[in-house]
Structures are given as structure tokens and as C-alpha cells.
């Protein structure tokens, strides 16, 4: 069984509104899986179904090969996007309470909390109340509470919102460490920078439907459009540029007349690059030739736009 979680044709309605329409996903074990999509696409609904907060109208969810059931809750850790803590409760008591709700014994929870509090250097917060802490500080505690029961599957919904860059980095490191230890992680976000860094797999959800999923590197390969960034030392760059733009799609061109340096991005008509390259080489000295790989953000925007255009 290579997948920690599988959803099969999950559909969910809220009245007349369809929140999820036949969404099937396969989330591989021990990977970081990015669940992407614009706001309101249905990501949170899907996550809530996985957490058994709501139930699908149609379709099924399998956790580690078994049909999802109540006992699985203890094996899932969930950091919701809308998150907070009791304002009037002390940090330590609160963390203990939430850990016990996840099924940990009091003594075990205490032991693990101590470990995590020291690890994130917040040992002296135990007796503080949440209202005395900043938002970022509270987020650290929420993170600890999410991972404390050592779940097999962790679900983070916009985990970095509310963190300053330093703490966001600490949390990112922790997430990567958890992955190394064998935890599978679902990472829901609409911020693409973090996706590039962390995710091996992604699924793109748009208007209640999955429109794209797979290994990020495969997707990127598929979305490559034979676009190359070329640097060329040539005495008559402007003329060459004019000639090329008649035949190919050229963008972001710049010719520095003093240094006789021509930089441009060009889409090749096919995978074959040799002929054009040798032509270019005859015109001057090629000093850079790089294939541009689309960023997750570009793929995201492109897919969503083409989807919108098709409708």
C-alpha cells in the first residue's frame, strides 16, 4: 500500500452549492502533498471530510487502505486555517487538554509537550495565558498540538500565515524533519512559493473539481513549452532580433549595444534545438542557453485560466 490516503469520487453539496465534485486523489505515503487552489475552491471542505468533520454525500475515503472510520482520527493531525486557542486558559493546560482529546494519556502528553516546548524554545510559556502571547507565539503552540500525538498523516492548512519569516522557517524545518521521520503531509495553500520548496506531489482544485494532479516534477515537464533563455554576443543584435521575431515567439528581449550583448527568451517550435542553435551560433557567440521550467505559480494560473476560458 503506497498511498496513505485515497479519495474516490468524493462529492459534497451545501444546499444547491456544489463544494466538491467527484474529486479523486491519491496521496502517497511519506511525501509532502500540496493541495492547491484559489480561495473557495473546495480545499477546506475536502480537508474537513478527511478529518471526518463533515461527511461526503457521495464517494469514499480510504486511510492506509481501510475505509475511513472514527479511530483514524487519532492518526491524523490537523492544523486548520481558521485556528485559535482558548483565550483564558493557560498554555500548558490547554495543550494537555487538546493532546488528551487526541487520545494521549496525561503523563505521556506532558512528557511530549515538555520535549516540544524545549525544542521550540518556549519552555517558560507553560503558565502563560494565550491572551498574553502574540499571534505567532500562539501559532507555535498550535503547531505542537497538531504534531504531538505523532500522527501518520499531517494536514496543514495555510500553515505559514501569521508567522514572521524567522518562525516560518523554523516551522518549515520541523515539517521537513517530520517528513524524514516517515510522516505523510498534506499541505493546503494558495501560496505557490512554499509549494516549490516543499511539495513533491500536487493536486490543483478549482471550482470544486480537481483539474490537475501528480508529481510536481512531472507536471512541470508536461508544462514546459520549449522556451529557452538565450544570451548571445553579436554585433548586429537588433537585426537578428527582427529576423527571429518574424519566425518565432520572442519575449523579454534586450540588446546592449555597448557590450553587444543580446538577451532574449524564445519559444522553439519543437523539441529539436540543434538547427536553430547552430544558426544562432553562426551569428555570434552564445554565452547562455537555459530551458525555462514553469513555476508552480505559472502552472496554477495557466491551468485555472484555461479552465475558465473553456467554460
Amino acid at each position: 500500500m503506497n498511498n496513505i490516503l485515497v479519495t474516490k469520487e468524493v462529492t459534497k453539496h451545501f444546499g444547491k452549492h456544489i463544494a466538491l465534485n467527484n474529486v479523486s486523489l491519491e496521496i502517497p505515503r511519506n511525501s509532502i502533498y500540496g493541495l492547491l487552489g484559489p480561495n473557495g475552491a473546495g480545499k477546506t471542505t475536502l480537508i474537513r471530510i478527511i478529518n471526518q468533520i463533515t461527511h461526503p454525500d457521495k464517494g469514499s475515503v480510504f486511510f492506509g487502505g481501510e475505509k475511513l472510520k472514527a479511530e483514524h482520527i487519532a492518526q491524523i493531525g490537523y492544523l486548520p486555517e481558521e485556528r485559535g486557542l482558548y483565550k483564558n486558559m493557560k498554555v500548558g493546560e490547554q495543550a494537555l487538554y487538546l493532546a488528551q482529546l487526541k487520545g494521549l494519556s496525561k503523563s505521556e502528553a506532558k512528557k511530549r509537550l515538555k520535549f516540544w516546548f524545549e525544542r521550540l524554545e518556549i519552555g517558560n510559556w507553560w503558565d502563560k495565558k494565550i491572551q498574553e502571547l502574540s499571534k505567532g507565539m500562539a501559532q507555535k503552540i498550535q503547531f505542537i498540538v497538531t504534531v504531538l500525538h505523532e500522527p501518520k498523516l499531517l494536514i496543514f492548512d495555510e500553515p505559514f500565515s501569521g508567522f514572521d519569516p524567522i518562525n516560518a522557517n523554523i516551522i518549515k524545518e520541523e515539517i521537513l524533519k517530520l517528513k524524514e521521520k516517515g510522516t505523510s503531509i498534506i499541505f493546503s495553500t494558495h501560496r505557490m512559493e512554499s509549494v516549490e520548496e516543499l511539495c513533491e506531489y500536487i493536486a490543483l482544485i478549482h471550482k470544486s473539481e480537481k483539474i490537475l494532479d501528480g508529481k510536481l516534477s512531472d507536471i512541470k515537464k508536461a508544462y514546459k513549452n520549449n522556451i529557452y533563455k538565450i544570451g548571445l554576443q553579436t554585433p548586429n543584435g537588433d537585426a537578428l532580433l527582427g529576423e527571429l521575431s518574424g519566425k518565432f515567439k520572442i519575449s523579454a528581449s534586450d540588446y546592449n549595444t555597448v557590450e553587444q550583448q543580446l538577451d532574449f527568451t524564445m519559444q522553439f517550435p519543437g523539441k529539436e534545438t540543434g538547427e536553430i542553435l547552430s544558426y544562432l551560433a553562426s551569428k555570434g557567440n552564445i554565452n547562455s542557453f537555459v530551458e525555462t521550467i514553469p513555476s508552480a505559480n505559472e502552472i496554477f494560473i495557466k491551468t485555472v485560466q484555461s479552465k475558465n476560458n473553456n467554460e
Partner: protein, 442 residues
């Protein structure tokens, strides 16, 4: 089960540790007893103020009819004229001057008598004086008709109609009211408990929503468990508060009584005094005995058992509605439109109870409201002191009422938990009834 216990424990601790809760718990009985003491004290002062009335009696028709009573004493002026009497009354600071002139007959005397006072006179004093004149006049007129003074005093009557049930048990006038008041006290207790602690449940739900912890929690427990735990935890805190109120209240009452020098023995003496008066008046004594018997006859055990049943069911119904409201809204200001329809049946129950059950505990209105599930916990308890079965609440009514209440309880809790489940995850919208109705279908 273990999780439910954890939730109950947290809710309970969070509630009893809350500063305003602690303050209310200990301050309320102090305020209540303090208020009682203040009222008692003020009444005592008021009672202690005796009005002294100067009496200038020139006629022969009155001699010692004006007796010093608890609130009034009379100073007799002799052989001075009216003007001097007025002056001295004013100077001495008496409440007033009663002037009875010398005339040839009583009718004239009465017609010309005056009560002079600086301020407008105390009505109870005036009516007491009037009573003396009336008695004297009646006596005189009866004398003219040939009835002697002795016969006249023998004529005084004190009568109350005897009432009984058909099976011969003696009934007492007013006992229905007393019974209804006892039942009403229980009903009122239920209403207060629902309003106070239902509100607590609601606020606690809203707090979880606004602090955004709700989704973290319901990824570990079922929303229904959370709702139930919240209601039970808050109720336990409420019961704790009630017990402290009762204990502290009675303790303070004892302290206050001894402080006020109204010793319990004095009260007992008073009781003995009334008892000795009562022996002199056999009819009154009998009545008292019947009252006492009736109070003893109130099925206290039944009443208490049903109080617990109605209390639990009624409270659970209402507090789950409160929980649903808390889940539906984002902040407390939005709750008003939803709270009013809840308070309405409670208020109705209390008022219908007091107006209709008092006068006729088994009339159609009383029966109807004691069966209708949203009012039955209060109204039925007002009817129950008269017992079950003959002369009391018919068994079928009691059973129907409880059965309906249980069905309603299941229905409402089911509906409320649906609203709760959807509502707690809805942010930023002020819901309408229509929307909440839609949630039921999610």
C-alpha cells in the same frame, strides 16, 4: 466517553475559575441577604415610629374608646380650649389632634369632630379612628333600636365558608394558591436556571467560535460530544453555584438574624403567642391545622422527583437550543433575534402559570400548557403540588406531558446538533432563519 468526560471537566473548570462567575457566586447571596436585611431593618424602623395623637375630648359620648395600640398612642388633653390644644400639639410634635366637641347628641358630635394635622394624615391612622367612630355610632343606633351593648358585642361575626372535596376531605380556601406558589417556586427555579446557564452555554459556544479553536477541537471529537459536554459541564457549574448560593444564603441569613437581634427564640415566642390567641378562637385554629395538614399532605417526594425529571429534560431542551444559537452567530449582539423566541414560551409558562394555575389548577388552559412541551416543565410543576390522581393531576396528563417532553427533547437535540455542527464552522455571516433552516439539510 472518556473524551466527553474531558470536555465536561474542562468546561466545568473554565466556568468555575472565571472571575465574574466567582464574584457572582459569592456576591449574590451577600447582596440578596443584604437586601433582605435592609428591607427588614427599614420596616422595623418604620414600625418603631409610633404616631402620637393628642385627643381633646369635650363630649360625654366618648371616654376610653381610644386605646393605645401598636402604632398609635393617645395623649389626652383636658380642660383646654381648641386653639391651645392645636398649639401644644404642634409644639410637642405630635402626629395630630383629634377634636371631639361637646354636642347634645352623638350624631352631632361625630359630624363635628375633626382631625387636625400638619401634614396630610396617615391613612391607616385615619381609618383606625374612623373605625372607633363607626363602632360607637352603630352601638348607639342599635341602642336606640333596643339592642344592648352586651348583645352588640355578641353580634360580632367572623365567618369563612367551609369547603371540601366530594370524598369528604376538607378543603381550605387559598390552599390552591399556596400549592401553586410552591410549585411555582420550582417552575421559576427552572426558568432562572435555563436563562442563566443556557446563556452561559451560548456564550461558551460563541467564545470557541470567535477564538477559532473550534475546528481544532472537532478534528478530535464529534461536534455532538462537544455540545453535550459543554451543556453538562456548564450545568454542573450552575448546580455548584446554586448549592453555594443556598448554603451561603442560609448561613448569612442566620448571621443577619442574630445581628438584627431578631432571635429565633423570639420568632418562636411570637409563634406561641399566635398559638395562644388561636386557642381562644377555635375556628382559626382549625383552619391553621388544615393548612398545616395540607402542606404536609403535599406529595413532596413526588414533587421533587418530577422536579428533577422536568428540570433535566426542560433544561437540556433549552440549553441545546442556546448552543445552536451560539453556533449560528458570530458574536453576542447577533443573538437577540434568536433568543426572544426562546424566552417567550418560558415567560408565557410563568405568567400563564401564575394567572391560570393559581385560580384553577386543573382548568383547560392549565392542562394545555402543562402538556405543551416547551411550557410543561414550569406549568406542570405548578399543578403537581395537588398530587397525582384524584383531586390532583390526572395520570394520563402527567404521562402525556412527560412523553411529549422526551420526544421533543430528542427532536430538539437532534435539530440543535445539526445546526451546531454546521454553524460552528460558519464565519463572518449573520445568519437568517432561512439559512439556518437550510443547514438542517446539509
Amino acid at each position: 466517553m472518556n473524551k466527553l468526560f474531558l470536555i465536561i471537566k474542562r468546561e466545568y473548570i473554565a466556568k468555575v475559575r472565571n472571575k465574574s462567575f466567582v464574584v457572582m457566586t459569592f456576591l449574590s447571596p451577600i447582596l440578596m441577604v443584604g437586601m433582605g436585611v435592609l428591607i427588614a431593618y427599614l420596616t422595623k424602623i418604620n414600625d418603631n415610629e409610633k404616631s402620637i395623637v393628642a385627643l381633646l375630648n369635650e363630649s360625654d359620648y366618648f371616654s376610653n374608646e381610644f386605646l393605645t395600640t401598636e402604632g398609635t398612642s393617645f395623649i389626652h388633653f383636658n380642660e383646654i380650649n381648641l386653639e391651645t390644644a392645636k398649639d401644644s400639639t404642634l409644639k410637642m410634635g405630635y402626629s395630630g389632634l383629634l377634636y371631639i366637641p361637646k354636642e347634645s347628641n352623638l350624631e352631632q358630635v361625630v359630624a363635628r369632630s375633626f382631625f387636625y394635622s400638619e401634614k396630610s394624615p396617615n391613612t391607616s391612622l385615619i381609618s383606625r379612628l374612623e373605625l372607633v367612630f363607626q363602632d360607637r355610632l352603630r352601638e348607639k343606633r342599635l341602642q336606640n333600636l333596643g339592642v344592648s351593648t352586651k348583645d352588640f358585642s355578641a353580634l360580632k361575626v367572623n365567618y369563612a365558608i367551609n369547603t371540601a372535596t366530594f370524598n369528604g376531605k376538607q378543603n381550605v380556601k387559598g390552599i390552591n394558591e399556596i400549592k401553586a406558589v410552591i410549585g411555582g417556586a420550582f417552575g421559576y427555579l427552572i426558568m432562572m436556571f435555563i436563562i442563566i446557564y443556557g446563556g452561559f452555554v451560548m456564550r461558551s459556544v460563541i467564545e470557541e467560535k470567535t477564538s477559532r479553536i473550534i475546528e481544532i477541537i472537532i478534528s478530535s471529537v464529534k461536534p455532538f460530544q462537544l455540545m453535550l459536554g459543554k451543556i453538562l459541564g456548564t450545568s454542573l457549574a450552575g448546580i455548584t453555584q446554586f448549592i453555594i448560593w443556598i448554603l451561603l444564603g442560609s448561613l448569612l441569613m442566620l448571621v443577619a438574624l442574630s445581628f438584627l437581634d431578631i432571635e429565633l427564640s423570639a420568632l418562636q415566642n411570637g409563634a406561641e403567642l399566635t398559638a395562644s390567641i388561636n386557642t381562644a378562637l377555635p375556628t382559626v385554629d382549625q383552619t391553621m391545622q388544615v393548612y398545616a395538614q395540607e402542606l404536609l399532605d403535599i406529595p413532596w417526594f413526588t414533587l421533587l422527583s418530577f422536579f428533577i425529571i422536568y428540570f433535566l429534560l426542560g433544561y437540556l431542551i433549552y440549553s441545546s437550543i442556546y448552543a445552536a444559537i451560539g453556533a449560528a452567530v458570530d458574536n453576542e449582539t447577533d443573538t437577540q433575534q434568536f433568543i426572544f423566541p426562546i424566552i417567550l414560551p418560558l415567560m408565557l409558562a410563568i405568567y400563564v402559570g401564575f394567572f391560570s394555575v393559581f385560580s384553577n389548577p386543573h382548568g383547560p388552559i392549565a392542562v394545555g400548557f402543562s402538556i405543551f412541551p416547551l411550557t410543561s416543565p414550569i406549568v406542570m410543576l405548578m399543578r403537581l403540588p395537588s398530587g397525582i390522581g384524584e383531586g390532583g393531576v390526572p395520570l394520563w396528563q402527567l404521562l402525556t406531558s412527560i412523553l411529549l417532553l422526551i420526544v421533543t427533547f430528542i427532536g430538539i437535540v437532534w435539530l440543535a446538533s445539526k445546526i451546531y455542527r454546521v454553524g460552528i464552522l460558519m464565519y463572518g455571516k449573520k445568519p437568517t432563519y432561512k439559512e439556518i433552516f437550510k443547514w438542517l439539510k446539509y
